[in-house]
Amino acid sequence: MDDNGSRVCCGILPANAPLANPYVPFQPDAATQYTAKTGLIKGTLFPCLDLPFLGMVNTEEKTDTMMHQLQALGFAIQELGLYLDTHGDDEEATELFRQYTQMYESGMAEYQQSCGPLFQKQAVQDGAYTWNNTPWPWEYRANQED
């Protein structure tokens, strides 16, 4: 760790690298990871890629609402998905991806049951069309818990 709180990590460069080409070292593996909740706060699941500007770090814990839990799980899926797009043979990351998607499915069902639909195709509840009954995500609500 340096004084910015970020880790110094090294990736892998190709051994025989053609000239006149841009190179970014390969992230070696996904073994070290933040939890989904910390990952959402940091903007990455991977401590090696966590490189803040002028020591400005988000430390505030998000309240533990159902929406925040869903956002954290959704973020972990998105982040691991991008990683797997370039590391398709990482079995450990693939398994983790599967687990997060499973958790997301159950979290989503629970959320929709108590807070309203996330997808239009799930908008009929108890015979009523509820798509427009809940606030849109960009709206400001002073008392919102999520």
Binding site: P14, N16, P18, A20, N21, P22, Y23, V24, P25, F26, Q27, L40, I41, K42, G43, T44, F46, L49, D50, L51, P52, F53, L54, M56, V57, N58, E60, K62, M67, H68, L70, Q71, G74, F75, Q78, E79, G81, L82, Y83, D85, T86, H87, G88, G116, P117, L118, F119, Q120, T134, W136, P137, W138, Y140, Q144, D146
Partner: protein
């Protein structure tokens, strides 16, 4: 196809209105290195990518950028809700207000409307991925500059998240470029354009 999920990627809840700050943040909505250009760049470049993994990477990052566009729109919208007469005259906001009231319009902070000239689709994967690397760096610097200019903790919380995503995307585009290179002629990666010369 695209399906809307009624949630933001990351929570946006801005307690204090601040039209002057909104007139700066709007640049990441419709400015030269903003999220609209980012999403259209990647979602357009993907058609000519020669390998499925690269098509996937551009689709997934392009889709994430659409989510970022929505978050920037949410910040601008929340920063400009319920403005009084003094606030619409605030330094820097009146020129935006006269054309768009408090609607969210894709423009640079300078007032230049969003332009496809700020992005490129070259139809060659090394050229396009190299552009993408540069684009992520430029977006990162724009977020750095917003953090220098803004002292609103609710806004900066979201901006720090978005800035970090640019770094992760840069890493993935660099890896995509390496995966591509390994499939090209090792004696001369510029021997042909794998998007065109099949």
């Amino acid at each position: 196809m695209f399906v809307y999920e009624k949630k933001l990627q990351y929570p946006v809840k801005i307690a204090a209105v601040n039209p002057k700050l909104a007139s700066i943040i709007i640049s990441q909505y419709g400015g030269p290195d903003g999220e609209l250009g980012a999403s259209l760049r990647y979602l357009s470049q993907r058609y000519s990518m020669p390998y499925p993994e690269l098509r996937g990477l551009l689709t997934d990052i392009g889709t994430e950028e659409l989510g970022h566009l929505e978050m920037i729109g949410a910040i601008v919208h929340q920063l400009t809700r319920t403005l009084n007469d003094d606030q619409i005259r605030a330094d820097g906001f009146a020129p935006y207000f006269v054309d768009h009231t408090t609607g969210v319009y894709p423009t640079a902070a300078s007032g230049f409307p969003w332009s496809a000239a700020s992005m490129a689709v070259k139809g060659d994967p090394i050229a396009d991925l190299t552009e993408d690397l540069a684009a992520e760096q430029k977006a990162r610097v724009t977020y750095d500059n917003i953090l220098r200019l803004s002292d609103d903790p609710d806004v900066n919380d979201v901006i720090k998240f978005l800035r970090e995503r640019e770094i992760v995307h840069f890493q993935r585009f660099g890896e995509g470029l390496q995966n591509l290179r390994e499939r090209l002629n090792q004696k001369n990666v510029y021997y042909m354009n794998p998007s065109f010369d099949k």
